[in-house]
Symmetry: C2
Subunit: 107 residues, 2 copies
């Protein structure tokens, strides 16, 4: 696991926690709090069929096992990789997490 990635996400988590604490102490208002939350969110990528397949193969798992991790059916994963259907909002978020942190992050 690359140190830079872990560092990055730790920073974001820390910013969120710090902002939360400052809000509870009354030092910043909700308005500013929300700006902090937006700034520390990892942007969600769009995934092509090939990228999804490459991602799964990088993690060395079958479509069935990959599907279990994402809590979808194996057919859905197959359809994504063939370009038959495209993953929606929440599915893309999960794929982004896997792409950044690996399958273990959503175990």
């Amino acid at each position: 696991m690359a140190k830079t990635k872990a560092y990055k996400s730790d920073v974001k988590a820390a910013i969120h926690e710090t902002a939360l604490d400052l809000h509870e102490t009354g030092l910043i208002d909700k308005h500013t709090m929300r700006r902090f939350d937006q700034s520390c969110l990892t942007p969600v990528r769009k995934f092509t069929a090939e990228e999804i397949r490459a991602l799964r193969e990088r993690e060395q798992v079958s479509q069935t096992v990959f599907a279990m991790y994402l809590n979808v059916t194996k057919d859905s994963v197959s359809q994504w990789e063939r370009g038959d259907k495209r993953p929606a909002g929440p599915a893309c978020k999960l794929l982004s997490i896997v792409a950044e942190k690996g399958l273990a992050a959503i175990a």
Copy 2:
């Protein structure tokens, strides 16, 4: 962050990694490998409307911010919490992660 939670997920991640290494070394077959994967997966809960709201309020964020984290619209979160609609597979997985590890885990 509670140590027990971090420990638990670390164990599961470790089992997965170990199984993967054993497979690459040729010490276990794919069949067994898959069983390992299934056993170290966190079961995905069903969430009631009240549980979703409680979860969001525990994390101290508005529906809008919560929605940004899950990569869905604020309307969807509102509908979940009112019992108008129920989160699907991938959305439930994300909610499970937040319930177990907190919002920072999907930042």
